[in-house]
Symmetry: C2
Subunit: 334 residues, 2 copies
């Protein structure tokens, strides 16, 4: 994907639905030139507003669809904006289940303008079934008590902190936003079901003994819709270390009538699953998302969870992930 990017936000109004745009602005600000919003848009990632034509004039190379919706489909009234961007000379990238390249108007505009469409959610290669064979190198996987709880952010923060300490660490993207941030990876929820763990094995291949892959987790084992993806990703990743991501003030799975189990139960579920393919797997820490809590409540939750679980606990944004990296690097004793 050629940069810099124009981030398309459409006319979305749902807070949080701009997670791809927000993730790019957070982790790759140097690649983000502007945002393009339609009338009525209710989100703002803090970049100058500009049309595709103006963005192209200022040097933008790709318009990124920066919002996601459940089901991964493009609202039909956004097609004109995609076509406009292609005609203005921009490539277009999106991470939907639906392929932009399958929309006739979009395909025609790309042909006409000679621009490229990047459907980053679509696997670009076939995978083999997983083998479960042990491999060298060290791997961290972020897991969660729900979706949208900080698994990508935590993995990116761990990579940054480990690299700061001179450790050889690589973030491994498994979602469309992570892939756009990292520029590589595999969108694991878009892989054919038979190949989930095989794709995860491909994503974090054998490495030198002191190399760490920091793999972005997906879904949750206690999630009735997505646990299959989570389990295949755990098995294929063969993590040495798990970091559990959790929002303390969230009682239920987002949007569903399912209570999130207590942390001890979630830790045990994930550990049991991981130990099938890596008997030495351990949970090193809890990454909490306290964005909806006061500073006092966040600090209290951090202390309580550390005490309750006996594990390092931190909010990567408020506290950094130094304590969790310390715990990751301490040899396992459980």
């Amino acid at each position: 994907m050629l940069d810099p990017y124009l981030l398309f936000l459409g006319d979305t109004t749902l807070p949080g639905s701009d997670k791809t745009a927000a993730g790019l602005v957070q982790w790759r600000p140097e690649l983000c030139l502007g945002q393009h919003r339609l009338p009525g848009c209710g989100v703002d990632v803090g970049l100058p507003d500009m049309t595709p034509a103006v963005a192209h004039e200022r040097g933008a190379r790709t318009m990124v669809v920066g919002v996601v919706n459940v089901g991964g489909h493009l609202p039909p009234h956004w097609i004109a904006s995609i076509v406009e961007a292609l005609d203005a000379g921009l490539d277009v990238a999106a991470g939907l289940h639906q392929r932009l390249a399958d929309i006739p108007e979009v395909r025609e505009a790309a042909t006409r303008s000679g621009r490229t469409i990047h459907d980053v959610r679509q696997p670009t290669r076939p995978f083999a079934p997983g083998t479960g064979a042990p491999r060298s190198g060290k791997r961290i996987l972020t897991v969660g008590t729900d979706c949208v709880v900080g698994k990508k952010y935590t993995a990116l923060a761990l990579e940054r902190e480990m690299r700061r300490r001179g450790i050889d660490a690589d973030f491994r993207a498994t979602g469309q936003t992570g892939l756009m941030i990292a520029g590589r990876g595999v969108v694991i929820d878009a892989v054919i079901a038979d190949f989930i763990s095989g794709a995860a094995e491909w994503l974090s291949p054998a490495a030198t003994a002191d190399h760490w892959d920091v793999i972005e987790g997906q879904g949750a084992l206690n999630h009735p819709a997505y646990a299959g993806v989570t389990l295949g990703l755990i098995h294929g990743s063969q993590p040495d270390v798990l970091v559990l991501c959790h929002e303390p003030v969230r009682p239920n799975i987002l949007g569903l009538d399912y209570i999130i189990p207590d942390l001890a139960t979630c830790i045990a579920m994930n550990l049991d699953a991981a130990r099938l393919t890596n008997p030495q797997a351990r949970v090193a820490g809890i990454s909490i998302n306290t964005s909806r809590m006061s500073a006092e409540a966040a600090a209290l939750a951090r202390r309580q969870i550390a005490e309750e679980t006996g594990l390092a606990c931190a909010d990567p944004i408020r506290d950094g992930v130094g304590d969790i990296v310390d715990a990751i690097l301490r040899p396992g004793v459980d």
Copy 2:
């Protein structure tokens, strides 16, 4: 798919790789007219050998690729046989991950002859993510301690025995062979990973209170390659009753260096998983595959497993599934 069928066995030599052909002969003998084998073929499903031209003359309508291989690809030297069948006036059906319709020679032959290609493993509709919302009707899911252990056979035998007793029961196919036998279903391992449980919810929809769906299981929770598919299928199926399928003389996952856990562990794993979406789920019985055991050893294993687990235990082929159906219909007491 138009019947009757000519079953294509290629030149396969691996025992068990003819499972699609064998399943059709076992469960739909009235649809199977002949078999077509290439020189060197080492399997035999007991039907008259005939060429596509002769089969067409005798009334066959579809040639079914009746063998499967790991990875789901067609050996290139079989393409000529597929083309020959189409040119002889037969439709062709296959359950590979690879689409026959994507092979240029096959596509051209189908166009030329006006025949139809059935790539039954390919989902023919989009699915939504699972919701986990409770639904009416009763559901049985067969689960296993490994692949190729009798989950499809057991589910079909349960449907037959329940219908014999006047119970309103429907087999729900989740694999390519099951789908060809039933004429409907969804090949769950070919669904996009995000939609495994959603596809399972679609497959066994809400029904009347006394209706039973008997859902064919896939993979195993203790399988390092396929557990994600298994878990999504369990969650989406919301089974009231699980039947665990097991081969007593198999120590390891087929082809992999993974020991199969003891039955108590497998029962607990599957129950824990099922209770996320159906807290009333119970295991009613153990279906054993004793095909590689003597009658004496099989009888002993049956007694020992029944004693060890406290559950009904039977080999559907040697013993029938009457005892297991009795246990299914007994109200749960655990």
